[in-house]
């Protein structure tokens, strides 16, 4: 119910403040999502989508910072998000 999925904004289709929509790619699967809550998002940004609408942009600087902390703390290294293939 309250889970959400990260995806990459591929294309805006409507930038109306209330009806905003665009294509978002989730691990290779493409869905048209509502983007009224993230009007500042640009193509290439990652957004967190829940119940068909993007709730927020993903702050990749913060994500990479946590991954660096995990790498520093762990014996094994988690991959960098930047290294991941879509």
């Amino acid at each position: 119910m309250c889970l959400a999925v990260p995806g990459r904004l591929e294309e805006w289709t409507d930038r109306d403040p209330l009806l905003a929509r665009g294509w978002v790619v989730f691990g290779g699967v493409r869905h048209e999502c509502h983007l009224a809550c993230v009007p500042e998002a640009e193509v290439g940004d990652y957004v967190l989508v829940h119940a068909g609408i993007a709730l927020n942009r993903i702050d990749i600087v913060a994500a990479e910072k946590l991954l660096r902390e995990l790498r520093d703390a762990g014996e094994e290294s988690p991959p960098s998000a930047e290294d991941e293939m879509l």
Partner: protein, 375 residues
């Protein structure tokens, strides 16, 4: 999937769990608020890996589980009116009301359809002007922006055959009720990350200060959960109580102001009865008076439904408030199973009883439950 799989790394998770085990000087009790977190903790075996260091108790964080039987009765009543189509999320369909579920009502001829988003319900209304489409709106603050946006879009597009049966609930009043209860054992909270994506973590400062309880905002993947627990333990071990954001890749202090504005435009806080937990002051959302034309109850029904007394064999209220764990209920796994649940926590995909049934029954496991890579 990018920005998901990296936070399921087994080496990093195990390293965090080991650091937690080394850090604790006593066994702390931490409540995760969201059902999605409960499933993550059990799925990756974090609860068992930390069993000697931390007791993880499960909060009321499944809006499907806490939706009152009388509201489900109302949804069924609406779906039984000719030309009224009731739409809702899939996990709501099987939850029993006082007599039956929306799924069984559909089997008997009522118009009921599953949607992935309230905005899909608006599209259905536009496509089927011969129907009155009602969206049965459940969910925490995470889901409320989508519902609000559905109403705003319906108004903007002149779609008049769309309305809502609103059963949205608010997380903070439930957290406060748990802290106020005489039997409260919660020493720290893992706050629900996606609720906080909308409302922000600033909103927890007052609760944190008044009850002197650490509140750590966290995500749902195993390294996120382990990071959140580590932060809770660090605060508890150093006698601090702060709101700490360990999910800052999507949560900001103020939340998403635009999403909050959509909710503010359409809804206002109201008292609500939570299934299993009882009356919750300001524990729900309702349409503002200016949007009451979109209130399905006002449009199609009259009078309140009687309150439903829950089954005495089902102890879901105690499960939802962290007083017992699902296996402590005598009905768990026998009389109460996912295929014939007594209470909503066994029905919903995010319910604590369903999580225990799925992950604490070795004979049912399809894969090792130990901390691993991808789920």
């Amino acid at each position: 999937m990018k920005y998901l799989d990296e936070f399921r790394h087994p080496g990093a998770t195990e390293s965090l769990l080991e650091s937690i085990r080394r850090r604790v000087t006593k066994r702390w009790t931490i409540m995760e608020v969201c059902g999605g977190q409960t499933h993550g903790l059990l799925r990756y075996g974090i609860d068992e890996a930390l069993a000697d260091a931390v007791e993880l108790i499960h909060g009321p964080g499944c809006p499907v589980c806490v939706t009152g039987a009388e509201v489900i009765d109302r949804a069924i009543e609406l779906a039984s009116i000719p030309n009224v189509l009731v739409t809702t999320f899939g996990d709501m369909l099987r939850v029993p009301g006082s007599r039956e579920s929306l799924a069984s009502a559909r089997a008997a001829g009522a118009l009921v359809r599953m949607v992935y988003s309230p905005l899909d319900a608006v599209a259905l209304a536009e496509k089927h002007p011969e129907l009155e489409v009602v969206f049965f709106a459940v969910g925490f603050e995470t889901t409320a922006p989508a519902t609000a946006l559905a109403v705003l879009q319906a108004k903007r597009r002149g779609i008049e055959n769309f309305s809502l049966l609103v059963a949205h609930v608010r997380v903070q009043p439930a957290m406060e009720a748990i802290l106020c209860a005489p039997e409260n054992r919660v020493q720290a909270f893992l706050a629900a990350g996606h609720v906080c994506t909308v409302v922000g973590c600033e909103s927890y400062e007052d609760l944190c200060r008044r009850y002197e309880v650490p509140i750590v905002v966290t995500g749902f993947e195993p390294t996120d959960l382990a990071t959140g627990i580590a932060a809770c333990v660090e605060q508890l071990e150093t006698s601090r109580h702060e709101v700490e954001n360990r999910y800052d890749r999507v949560v900001q202090a103020e939340g998403n102001l635009r999403a909050r504005q959509f909710v503010e435009d359409v809804f206002e806080a109201c008292d609500r009865t939570w299934r299993g937990l009882g009356a919750m002051p300001l524990g729900g959302l309702r349409l503002r008076e200016s949007w009451r034309d979109y209130d399905a109850e006002r449009r199609f029904t009259a009078g309140a439904l009687p309150q439903v007394v829950s089954s005495c064999r089902c102890r879901s209220g105690e499960v939802l408030s962290g007083r017992i764990k699902p296996p402590e209920c005598a009905a768990f796994g026998g009389e109460c199973r996912p295929e014939h649940p007594l209470g909503a926590p066994m029905v919903s995909g995010e319910g604590a009883c369903a999580a225990y049934f799925q992950y604490h029954r070795p004979e049912l496991r399809c894969e090792p439950r130990a901390v691993e890579g991808n789920a």
